[in-house]
Structures are given as structure tokens and as C-alpha cells.
């Protein structure tokens, strides 16, 4: 974009001059001369210059129904609405950053100057980091001092990288269109901000109000955006899922907002299995997979497609709820493995055959840290019986009933104070 701006600068000045002269014809010519970015369109225009428009209409500009029909017969569908195409036909089609509005251009100059400054700062801090890394540890004042300095400088560097681009309207536009490149820090920053504004709040509210947080894990601060899909429909955190739907293995979309790759453990835990003998509830791990790589750009995790030798420890088990039992909370936890080191799958497979183990045990045993969570619920519904039979559960016909609490015997309320 930079070289085209440089090329367009004299044109812009010419345009501003034409503004001051107040010659509308000249202005139109100047703006026409501007079309430097839309190279493809210009090529199309040169073609149309050789041929009249009605012979070979441009699908981005055609607006009359007759020409549209001709295009459709050729198998080309016109782009956008007819209204938009008609507007584009008459517009000079200037690229956004060269729009001839004085205040806008002044604003852009200020933002550009600021960006240059930020880029200079980035270069200097990079040099600083390189210099500090070159200094031997003893001279830098010890390992701890050196490391803390390096971490602080790297944080500042990341901050500067975001600041350099955060005022760019085109970056904002791209992000709003969902075309942001997640390998760049600015788009990660914007996505994180957007997530924290609403979706994370909802998630945290659900997992705390439904007491997943003290029940399954003592603490969780979600830093990755997790979406859960059964088939193609996304599940909201805490939604009731039909048992037939949840019998299929779900897919996850785990959006990391940091640089680099992480190895995570994914666990799905049901914390509400009723236990009649002890008059309480048990845990059951419905899914467990380790060594799942995620990064900011590769977010999709299909739980059914993970390799059964090297990743899946406990395959998916359909969540169920017996008739009469309260709803079951099935919580999905994304847990980061320490130092992004892979765990030994054979050992874990040999050890973790018991599905009734709690997640706290696993977390403590393998030094995991919860970085993302999701939650859905299941309860008795029409298809539950079938699903339970298919998956070989016992006690399908059993219905749980609450024990009737005998009322206390009537006691005449006549203490001394009433008299």
C-alpha cells in the first residue's frame, strides 16, 4: 500500500489544487486519474474500451436488467446488489485512504506520523533487547534481573506493535469483515478485546453461577476463546443439549490470542452422576485427549479426528441423565501442558483407565493449567432412553425419586412469650 500512496501523492496535490480552483470538470478528471489500486478492474475497463459496455458487461458494474440477464445466461452472476452496482457505475471509485476530504487527510497525516514514530520505537527497543541478550549474565546483574528486564522489554515491544497499527482504519475494517490475519499481533489484540467484551463475560458467569468452578476445578481464568459445535450448530455455554445430538463427538474451536503454539489437554467432565448409596454425586470423564496442538491460526479441533494412538486417552462417551435426576453439567476444559512439553501417552493410557477420577487429580498429576472452559447441560428427554440403550448403560428403566421428607410433628406454639 505504501508505494501506491507515494505514487498518488502528487496526484492528490493536483486534486487539492483543482479543489481550490473550483473547476468541477478538472476535479472529475483528477479523480478519474486516481484508479491505481483496482488493477483488475482497470484491465476490465481497458477491455470494455475496446468493446462497448453492452457487448461485454462488467459483473461488478452492470445495473440494467437486460444486461444482467445476458450475464446470467453466460453463467456469470452480477456482484452485489443492483443498487450498489448502479452507484458504483457513476462513482469515481477512489481507494479509501485517498478520499479527498481535507479533515480526513489531515487526520491520516497525524496517524501516519505517529505510526512512523512507533516503528522507530520498535526498532530501538529491538536493538536494546539484542544488546541486553549479548551482555553476559554476570555483568547484567544476575539471571533473575536479566530475565525480568528481558520480559518487561518484550512486553513493551508487543504493546508497541499493537499501538503502531491500532489507529489504522483499514485494519479496523478488515477486522470487522472477519478477514483479520490472526498471525499478526494487532488482529489478535482486537479479537481478544472483542471476546472479553461480551462472550468471555457470559462464559465466566455461566461457569461460576452453575458452580462448575469450585466443583470441577478450584479456579479457572479463561484466556482462550472456546466454541463447541455438535454437528454444525454452535452451543452456547450452559445450553441444554438434546441427548441424540450430544451422542456424536463434538468439535471445538479454540482461539488462542497469543503468539506461538501450545500443547493442551482437553477433558470433558460430568460432575453430576447421582450415587444413591452415598446420597451424593460422582464424577465421570466423558472424554480425555492430551498433546493437542493449538495456535492462533490453527483453531479447529475435531475431537473425533484426533489420533487414537497418540492423543485420545478416553474416547467420547455419550452424556446421559437418568430419569428423575437433576440436570447434568458437562464441562469442557482446555488445559495447558507445562512448558508446551508433550506428555507420554502410553503411560497415561495405562494409568487413566478409570473414568470416575476427578479432574483435580489429573491436573495435579500432570501439572496442567486451565486456560479455557465451556459448559453444556443434559437432562432426561425423549431420546435419552434409546441413547442409553445404544451405549450400554445399565439401569435405563430406573427412575430416581426424591425421598419424601416426613413433616415434623405438630407442636403447639405456646411459649411463655406468647402469653
Amino acid at each position: 500500500m505504501a508505494h501506491c500512496e507515494r505514487a498518488a501523492k502528487p496526484l492528490l496535490q493536483c486534486l487539492q489544487k483543482s479543489y481550490t480552483k473550483g473547476l468541477p470538470g478538472l476535479q472529475v478528471q483528477a479523480t478519474r486519474a486516481f484508479q491505481t489500486t483496482a488493477i483488475a478492474r482497470e484491465e476490465a475497463q481497458t477491455e470494455t474500451k475496446s468493446q462497448p459496455f453492452h457487448k461485454s458487461p462488467d459483473p461488478a458494474l452492470v445495473s440494467s436488467p437486460r444486461l444482467e440477464r445476458r450475464l446470467l445466461r453466460q453463467g456469470i452472476s452480477p456482484i452485489g446488489s443492483r443498487r450498489r452496482r448502479a452507484a458504483l457505475e457513476t462513482s469515481p471509485n477512489i481507494p479509501f485512504e485517498q478520499l479527498p476530504y481535507q479533515c480526513f487527510q489531515e487526520a491520516r497525516n497525524i496517524l501516519q506520523a505517529d505510526r512512523e514514530e512507533k516503528l522507530k520505537d520498535i526498532v530501538t527497543i529491538r536493538e536494546k533487547i539484542a544488546r541486553l541478550e549479548a551482555v553476559p549474565t554476570e555483568q547484567a546483574g544476575g539471571l533473575q534481573v536479566k530475565n525480568s528486564k528481558l520480559v518487561a522489554m518484550n512486553l513493551h515491544l508487543d504493546h508497541l506493535k499493537v499501538l503502531a497499527d491500532v489507529n489504522d482504519p483499514l485494519v479496523k475494517k478488515k477486522f470487522e469483515d472477519g478477514q483479520g490475519d490472526m498471525s499478526k499481533p494487532i488482529y489478535r489484540y482486537l479479537a481478544d478485546k472483542k471476546w472479553r467484551e461480551y462472550r468471555r463475560k457470559i462464559l465466566v458467569q455461566r461457569i461460576t453461577q452453575m458452580k462448575v468452578i469450585p466443583d470441577v476445578l478450584p479456579h479457572c481464568d479463561p484466556v482462550v476463546d472456546t466454541k463447541l459445535y455438535f454437528g454444525r450448530t454452535a452451543t452456547q455455554p450452559g445450553e441444554f443439549v438434546n441427548s441424540r445430538v450430544s451422542a456424536t463427538t463434538p468439535k471445538l474451536d479454540v482461539q488462542l490470542f497469543e503468539r506461538g503454539e501450545k500443547l493442551v489437554t482437553i477433558a470433558v467432565v460430568d460432575s453430576d452422576i447421582p450415587n444413591v448409596e452415598k446420597d451424593g454425586f460422582d464424577y465421570r470423564t466423558h472424554y480425555l485427549a492430551v498433546n493437542v496442538p493449538i495456535s492462533a491460526t490453527s483453531t479447529k479441533v475435531d475431537l473425533s479426528k484426533l489420533s487414537s494412538e497418540s492423543q485420545v486417552v478416553l474416547p467420547w462417551m455419550a452424556p446421559t441423565a437418568q430419569k428423575g435426576s437433576p440436570y447434568h453439567r458437562l464441562s469442557v476444559f482446555i488445559m495447558e501442558q507445562k512448558d508446551a512439553k508433550p506428555l507420554n501417552v502410553a503411560d497415561i493410557k495405562a494409568k487413566e483407565t478409570d473414568r470416575s477420577k476427578t479432574l483435580r487429580t489429573l491436573q495435579a498429576r500432570y501439572h496442567l493449567k486451565a486456560i479455557g472452559a465451556h459448559l453444556f447441560r443434559t437432562q432426561w428427554d425423549e431420546t435419552m432412553e434409546e441413547v442409553m440403550r445404544e451405549n450400554g448403560y445399565s439401569d435405563v428403566d430406573m427412575e430416581l425419586r426424591r425421598k419424601r421428607v416426613e413433616p415434623l410433628p405438630y407442636k403447639r406454639r405456646n411459649p411463655s412469650t406468647f402469653r
Partner: protein
């Protein structure tokens, strides 16, 4: 025994026993309705919250201008200008802060020089730091007189003299 309604209610208040026919309403339909009779009358029906009515009235009044709507690029241009203005103001604030800091540090450096480098054991410095004779409990000078709606007719009191200290 038929009494006027006022007397009947008074009798009710003072628990004077009356014959039953006077207290119970004569019409049978009224006792079934829970609506207040005053409210039920035409024109007195509840109209909801008055504030909501007013808000609705002014919001949908034809003279109320339509909400400000921008097209995509227009909004982006607006946003660009807004960000640039914020940035510019922040730069100005920072420059001002830095200037103040510079001035303060220059002042402090001068004082330090006076204290250490003057060679009189810091006597000049102590003298200069002495706040005696300086009006110290400051308050805005316009509060030192009676507040008036408008300036006085002559504008300046030429006869004013500073009070003699005893």
C-alpha cells in the same frame, strides 16, 4: 335506618353497630368487580407511566431529527478523524507535562546549586526558602468581597487602602 354515606363511614370508624343493610352496597354487580370505581369511570383509566408517555411523544414527534446514521466508509472516516484528534490531544498533554517537569527540575537544580554551591553554608538558600511575610493561606481573590450579580457601577474603588496592621 338509612344514613348518609358520610355518617355510615363515621359509624364504621367508631364501631357503632348499624343494621346490615346500610353498610353493604345495594347493587350486586359492584361487589364482584375488583376495579376501583373511580378508575373505571371513563377518562380516568390508567395510562401507564407519565414519563414513558412523554419520552414516546417526543421521540416519535415529526420535528425530532432522525438518528445520525453513517455509511460504512463515512463512519470509518469519522472514526479516523476521532482517533487522530484523541491522539493529537494526548500528544499535546504529554508535551505540556514534560515542559512542566522540565521547569520544575530546572528550579530544583537552581535551588540545589544555591544550597551547595554558593559557599555560605546554605544561608542564602534558607533565606530564599523562608515564607515569612508571604500571603500563604490562598483563596480566590474574588471571594474576598461580597459576591454581586453584576460589576459595580464605577468599576474600581480608588479610595481603597490596605488595612493597617497593628
Amino acid at each position: 335506618m338509612r344514613l348518609s354515606p358520610v355518617l355510615a363511614s363515621l359509624a364504621n370508624v367508631f364501631k357503632i353497630p348499624l343494621s346490615k343493610s346500610t353498610i353493604t352496597p345495594t347493587t350486586g354487580t359492584r361487589s364482584f368487580s375488583t376495579t376501583n370505581a373511580l378508575l373505571k369511570r371513563k377518562g380516568n383509566a390508567p395510562r401507564g407511566d407519565r414519563r414513558v408517555t412523554l419520552i414516546r411523544y417526543f421521540l416519535w414527534h415529526p420535528l425530532t431529527p432522525r438518528p445520525l446514521r453513517f455509511s460504512r466508509t463515512r463512519f470509518l472516516r469519522h472514526w479516523t478523524i476521532h482517533r487522530a484528534w484523541q491522539l493529537f490531544q494526548a500528544q499535546q498533554r504529554r508535551a505540556h507535562q514534560l515542559e512542566l517537569q522540565r521547569q520544575w527540575q530546572a528550579m530544583q537544580g537552581a535551588c540545589e546549586e544555591l544550597r551547595v554551591g554558593a559557599g555560605d553554608g546554605g544561608k542564602l538558600f534558607r533565606k530564599s526558602m523562608n515564607k515569612k511575610g508571604i500571603f500563604r493561606d490562598l483563596f480566590p481573590i474574588e471571594y474576598g468581597r461580597m459576591q454581586t450579580e453584576a460589576p459595580s457601577r464605577e468599576g474600581w474603588n480608588h479610595e481603597w487602602k490596605r488595612m493597617e496592621k497593628k
